[in-house]
Symmetry: C2
Subunit: 278 residues, 2 copies
């Protein structure tokens, strides 16, 4: 199973170069550098236009490894959660339009002024169940993305692969799975056993970047593959051993480094590091 | 069991005011504000002198809720790990001299240039087993402190209460337990069940502060109790329900806020917030 990563397996999450390029430029950049996958963010899609985005992605033959993003199920009251549900259904429609392989879900953190983390987690389960009523009818898979525990309060209260697996167990596997992002999960003592528990059917996306030492910012200091401490190769081999055949999506938020560089250089570096370090 | 927190249950980890005061001043400050517990750091003790520190703490009748700190079991080679073991044995001796209730262990992260997190975790187990040979003879309990996953690379690769419980299971409960710090563990979906698994005998220390939203620095932006999102009261009630009778130790690293304030104001605030929010 120790096959070399291939350049055809690389996908670029558009956050990686979003400070330098608009979505149209990113699509052109992927084509120019022969990168075969992309994962766009909703705000960029809205700026370019949904149908135009879908057309350009299709014209360039790009695989859409995920649509970023739905979720944010937690809220202070029913009205807030209803609004999120409506918006999530639109995200499902958009994901279908761009032919994404899944809608990636960042589930939401604590509602304002709340300290009730178990309650927030229950809201996530209920909101996800609601959205599944729609996404299953539309045949758009939902990928729960566990986020690093440092985001438990403000972004996502699903923080481990175990929680994501528990949600899949509870809500059923049809049209539901997990986006495994190494930045968020590499530290987890249960990483490998929970990957195995997820298995091929649940692993809908595989996101890579690196954890820098030191990390200077909680949100915007992710590293390029090879510049940090994550054993990306071991994780990639593990998901492939389980039968994962999807692409490897690079998602780097890097305010002071990669977002300051020539985006062509960033893409070239992603390609090389993907071959060398993953 | 819903008894009010009492001012007699407050302990101050000296890191909370260490930028403003030397250890002698901190001991005097605790006495002046009628704070009955303290947890000193080794470098401060060395500066004041071990015997002088022990004398002053004794003269003021302070309970030493922990000695900070031992650990750092991970290293690139046997020589590095032997050096850590020697230093840890001296830390045991010092903890005995100041009559600490436990030696707090920050276990160490990845060795330089290593990406082998499972290997680092094995080094922790082995280093801890070595140190227990000595600490058990000396009757100084060791308290494993799980640190937040954001420190897995550079400070501690024990990141959950579950891992700490597993280590206690494997190495035996005699003279071994856990320092439960809410800053590091509040996000954990397994927090309450793993507390219960630990039980009274393993909970050797209980550290409090708060998680701020936003958190602006990975290390030095901890919040005063009540200023963040941690349900400190629920956690305090849970440890007391299990029979924990020790103090509540406030440990706040806060470069841009509490470390900039008048340290008397900091201690007064700790006392008040401990009563109101914990």
């Amino acid at each position: 199973m120790d096959k070399q990563p291939k350049s055809e397996q690389l996908s670029i999450n558009t956050a990686t170069v979003r400070q330098q390029w608009k979505l149209g430029q990113i699509i052109d950049g992927c084509a120019r550098h022969d990168i075969r996958g992309i994962s766009p963010w909703r705000d960029q899609v809205q700026e370019l236009g949904l149908k135009e985005t879908a057309r350009r992605i299709r014209d360039n033959g790009l695989t859409v490894t995920g649509y970023c993003r739905g979720g944010m199920f937690t809220g202070i009251d029913d009205a807030a959660r209803k609004k999120a549900d409506d918006d999530n259904r639109r995200a499902v429609d958009e994901a279908l339009e761009v032919r994404a392989s899944c809608l990636v879900l960042v589930v939401g953190g604590l509602p304002n002024d709340s300290k009730d983390l178990p309650g927030a987690r229950n809201q996530v389960r209920d909101g996800l169940a609601n959205l599944l009523d729609y996404s299953r009818r539309m045949s758009m898979p939902l990928a729960i993305e566990p986020l690093h525990p440092m985001y438990a309060a403000d972004r996502a209260c699903v923080n481990t692969l175990c929680q994501a697996n528990d949600l899949c167990d509870e809500l059923g596997d049809e049209g539901l799975g997990i986006a495994v992002d190494l930045y968020h999960t590499w530290w987890d003592p249960e990483f490998f056993p929970q990957l195995e528990r997820a298995g091929k059917k649940r692993i809908l996306a595989f996101h890579i970047c690196d954890w820098l030492v030191p990390t200077r910012d909680l949100l915007l200091d992710r590293g390029m593959m090879g510049d940090g401490v994550i054993d990306i190769r071991a994780a990639r081999l593990a998901v492939e051993k389980l039968g994962y055949e999807g692409l490897h999506e690079v998602e780097i938020f890097s305010q002071h480094d990669w977002w300051q560089r020539d985006p062509d250089e960033v893409l070239v570096t992603c390609k090389q590091r993907h071959l060398d370090c993953c």
